[in-house]
Amino acid sequence: MGIKGLTKLLADNAPKAMREQKFETYFGRKIAIDASMSIYQFLIVVGRSGTEMLTNEAGEVTSHLQGMFSRTIRLLEAGMKPVYVFDGKPPDLKKQELAKRFTQRGLMLLRIWKKPKRHAGDKEAIEKFSKRTVKVTKQHNDDCKRLLRLMGVPVIEAPSEAEAQCAALCKSGQVYAVASEDMDSLTFGAPRFLRHLMDPSSRKVPVMEFEIAKILEELNLTMDQFIDLCILSGCDYCDSIRGIGGMTALKLIRQHGSIENILENINKERFQIPDDWPYQEARRLFKEPLVCTDEEQLEIKWTAPDEEGLVTFLVNENGFNSDRVTKAIEKIKAAKNKSTQGRLESFFKPVPNTSAPIKRKGSKCVLRSPRPATGNKMLSLQACGSRPKETPENAARGNANKKSKAGGGRKRK
């Protein structure tokens, strides 16, 4: 899914473009959410153990409803204004990719079914396979749409890819940011992209915010080059060249500027370019995706929840606990009130701060990944300095740094 290894590539090469943010920071913000991705997550995570799922009396799966209901309330309670965007018809290129995934799923299911005994003891494998066999169906989507509309949360049906539609909403300023787990959103040019926004609060993962402008600045690429980089790294639309991963792709793009130039200059013996490689088509899909830009038609409005409708749908039809649903509806109503609180940024604009930090910068370790050489050098100078004291978190960062450099860091006890 998404762009292969892009998160790591960015963590290594554009660390300043990603920022950890607190969940509450998005208070009052309008956020476009890739619904299909979230539903998929819910089906995997919520109330599932092995191949058993949370179901209603009729035996239909309700994990997605439970997940969508509680997470959306969490967003509303934090004062956010979510807009859910659903996938439309996938582009032809993606269909091929989807077909491949589908066969993989089938094979895995077969494997489990065929030899249940062999897999019986291997709980982990079953867990892994059943995760991968989860599929979001039209029914799941329709259920969620109905639920969201009852909750008074706007739903948008994208003409094609949901991520592309989210990015378009963000570009036109109708929403503040895009939330998804799929790094594609960046390739579609979403100015501000959030990961882990929909993660359960129990996991305590901070939201990771990416800004495309900063990514381009840090990588020193144009948007077109960034799209080419993503295609080379491996996207949903076409195969990538064997032997070229994110790092090589970045190097090649920096050297040659575009896929065309790379193809001309690359060693064809070493790298096998797929015979029928539709990279131009993929590029077109990223640059000019099929999206709806008509503001009238989109109609992003947050309304009061339909209490009766919610009770009928969740309690009567899907066997939710009636007390819990009533309480949740109260929460939605209370949250509605909260969203009227203004944000300071709508009055005061950010300005650059003139004072330099006394403590060295650039040692912040995002995703615990290795740091670029300069950062390490600075740290090792620091470490040999007069006051070798560190906070626990710095110590953790320091350790991560130490691993990545060949000696140089002084070990302390």
Binding site: T25, G79, Q174, G342, S355, I358, R360, E390
Partner: protein, 266 residues
Amino acid sequence: MLELRLVQGSLLKKVLESVKDLVNDANFDCSATGFSLQAMDSSHVALVALLLRSEGFEHYRCDRNLSMGMNLNNMSKMLKCAGNDDIITIKADDGSDTVTFMFESPTQDKIADFEMKLMDIDSEHLGIPEAEYHAIVRMPSAEFARICKDLSSIGDTVVISVTKEGVKFSTRGDIGTANIVCRQNTTVDKPEEATIVEMNEPVSLTFALRYMNSFTKATPLSNTVTISLSSELPVVVEYKIAEMGYIRFYLAPKIEEDEDETKPQA
């Protein structure tokens, strides 16, 4: 190199107590002008701006503009170890990972050194334009604290409206409503007990009491509080710190529903 010596150490203790619940981590900025801090709460609804001018310190040395990221809870823990009459000195070396707080007892027979680890904080600095406010209310700070506390037992929000008659604080909750009117009153023995209302235009704004209550933690810093209101700006609640500067709290108002619903957000 940075060395700031503050004879009235209790002041710094009080400052910390007033901001540490609103903001977890913040950058203290040091320049020739003074020791300052600007930070927002995590939901970016309230902002605190602190200034302690260099003239207020007995000794003030700051070679270049510096910022120090501190965890305010930890800083408060350390400052709590200082006696109320102690002289506090803040020291930091260039490129250092730590800041040192030195506490000297007034009789100089006890000297304590507390070294605190600094942290990297990514924070946005907001530009706050000088503005003409529609209404400015000055009143005893304890009175304002009392009003906020009382109202928050009834409701979650306070409507502050200023008219020619005075300033009205009102709230509404499940159990009922409350209105408190403070009239202009300058005929008092002590000037700090006066309530002064300056008004160019009547103004009425709604705010979350939770934040207002948190601002009143600064009450020990000053006998009076100044509340400046304009219909299209956040409210400013200012506590002057005698001979040193101020601590100002900005709070974004609650906005009427539907108004921003259709407007695209930048």
